[in-house]
Amino acid sequence: MKITVEIDRCVGGGQCVMAAPDVFDQDDDGLAVLLDPDPPAGLADDVQLAARLCPARAIVVEA
């Protein structure tokens, strides 16, 4: 899995943090911080959910 966040799209709501807290965090302005760009396969569903929930479509996941 390879995750990227297009940070200039991010609107800072933290939907990603709620969906996959081991993979995403937020800075003080709310912008997403990628904790793990290549998380273990067991987190794939959480990451896909985060990408789909992201209201800015800022999260790109490649297999």
Binding site: G12, G14, D27, D28, R52, R57
Partner: protein, 396 residues
């Protein structure tokens, strides 16, 4: 029980409709998915229309919700530039391009349409802001106007005013309420917003009604307020809310009082579901029907409706979320901040321009709002999700 669906039709190719199509595939549905979209453009995101698109930071291209190759990957048949015009619930067909398209499950995701100012239809210089075409036209007009008059200081009007000020365009913001977004965020936060806009030299006309939008027969010339004041302008933005896009469903037998009425599983009728701005559903946690015009609801409800269409849905009971960006201030809220009867700041302070506030109704917390405080707000979300007692939230 009806048999598992083979053909799913989605009407509306925007945030809710496209998320539903994606979710159906993610949930393993391998039958036909057809998405009908009235706009000629591939589905795009609306929140940036009043932000990055209006400011000029982004080109329209950047708004597209899905990269083009995703449509093929997902195997969805997306028909753009064509509107559904009727629904036959008993016959399970929708009318598209004069033909009847059969479905096993239907998702209605047609969103809302902006309210216009009566009598200004076709008048040049009077704008609404809902589509990318609206935004492009409004931006061009605003940049060449000596002053823009924004009618309505809700989320949209307040945000558009802020973005225009960032461009250096003089703005007058008119609303009958005493402060911007008062209905949505209550008087305390609304007062702070009034201060924020005043600091940025927005000419605020609050507690003011509009008597007429005046014209020379072809182009707008001004806005006349209830007290007789004349505001001269060649560019007006009408931002007075929106109504559900359900005209095409007239005669279908669906409950269309304020959107498409649905049960707790987003079901409007047998095999007919709705999601996004157009859907009013029974929120079990609230014990009442609600309709939410916010971006994350479109996504979450579409995901819930997709599961429900596949027979796997539980009740949809989200904690609603909304954000708004005005100047350098991000305002975010969870739950219901409208109609609360209690308000208290629980961390930070308005003087520091960073705080989190709780909203209560009776003895319970019903909403939280963050002002430039995204991380603290996310933590405070739990107060709403759990509906904690007011005294515990305020004591904490």
């Amino acid at each position: 029980m009806t048999p598992p669906p083979r053909r799913i039709v989605v009407v509306g190719a925007s945030a809710a409709g496209l998320t539903a199509a994606e979710s159906l595939r993610a949930d393993g549905f391998d039958g036909d998915v057809t998405v009908i979209g009235a706009e000629p453009h591939a589905g795009y995101d609306r929140p940036p229309l009043s932000k990055q698109l209006l400011s000029g930071a982004w080109e329209a291209q950047r708004l597209e919700l899905l990269p083009h190759h995703r449509y093929d990957e997902l195997g969805i048949d997306c028909r753009l530039g064509t509107a559904a015009t009727a629904l036959d619930v008993a016959g399970r067909t929708v009318r598209v391009d004069g033909a009847d398209l059969g479905y096993d499950r239907l998702l209605i995701a047609t969103g809302v349409r902006p309210r216009t100012w009566p009598g200004t239809e076709g008048l040049r210089g009077v704008h609404v802001l809902r589509t990318v075409d609206d935004a492009v036209a409004f931006r061009e007009a605003a940049l060449s106007a000596r002053r823009v008059v924004v009618i309505g200081a809700g989320f949209l009007g307040a945000e558009a005013a802020a973005t225009l000020r960032g461009l250096g365009v003089p703005v007058t913001l008119v609303d009958p309420a005493p402060a911007p977004m008062q209905r949505q965020v209550g008087p305390d936060v609304a007062r702070l917003l009034a201060g924020l806009h005043a600091e940025h030299d927005v000419d605020l006309r609050l507690g003011a009604t509009v008597r007429a939008v005046e014209d020379d027969g072809d182009h707008v010339t001004g806005v006349r307020l209830g007290d007789g004041t004349a505001l001269r302008t060649t560019c007006v933005l009408v931002a007075i809310g929106a109504t559900p896009a359900t005209a095409w469903l007239d005669g279908s037998g669906l409950d269309l009082t304020d959107g498409v009425g649905c049960d707790a599983q987003c079901r409007a009728a047998p095999d007919v579901f709705a999601a996004g701005d157009v859907a009013r559903w029974f929120h079990r946690g609230y014990g009442t029907s609600v309709r939410v015009e916010h971006r994350t609801n479109a996504t979450e409800q579409a995901m819930a409706a997709a599961r429900a269409m596949l027979g796997a849905g539980g009740p949809y009971e989200p904690v609603p979320y909304v954000w708004s960006d005005q100047y350098d201030t991000k305002i975010q809220a969870y739950g219901r901040t409208a109609g609360a009867d209690r308000f208290a700041v629980i961390s930070g302070s308005p003087d520091d321009r960073r705080f989190v506030a709780v909203y209560g109704r009776g003895e319970r917390v019903v909403g939280v709002l963050g002002w430039r405080s995204p991380r603290e707000l996310l933590r405070a979300r739990a107060l709403v999700a759990a509906g904690v007692a007011w005294r515990d939230a305020v004591a904490a």
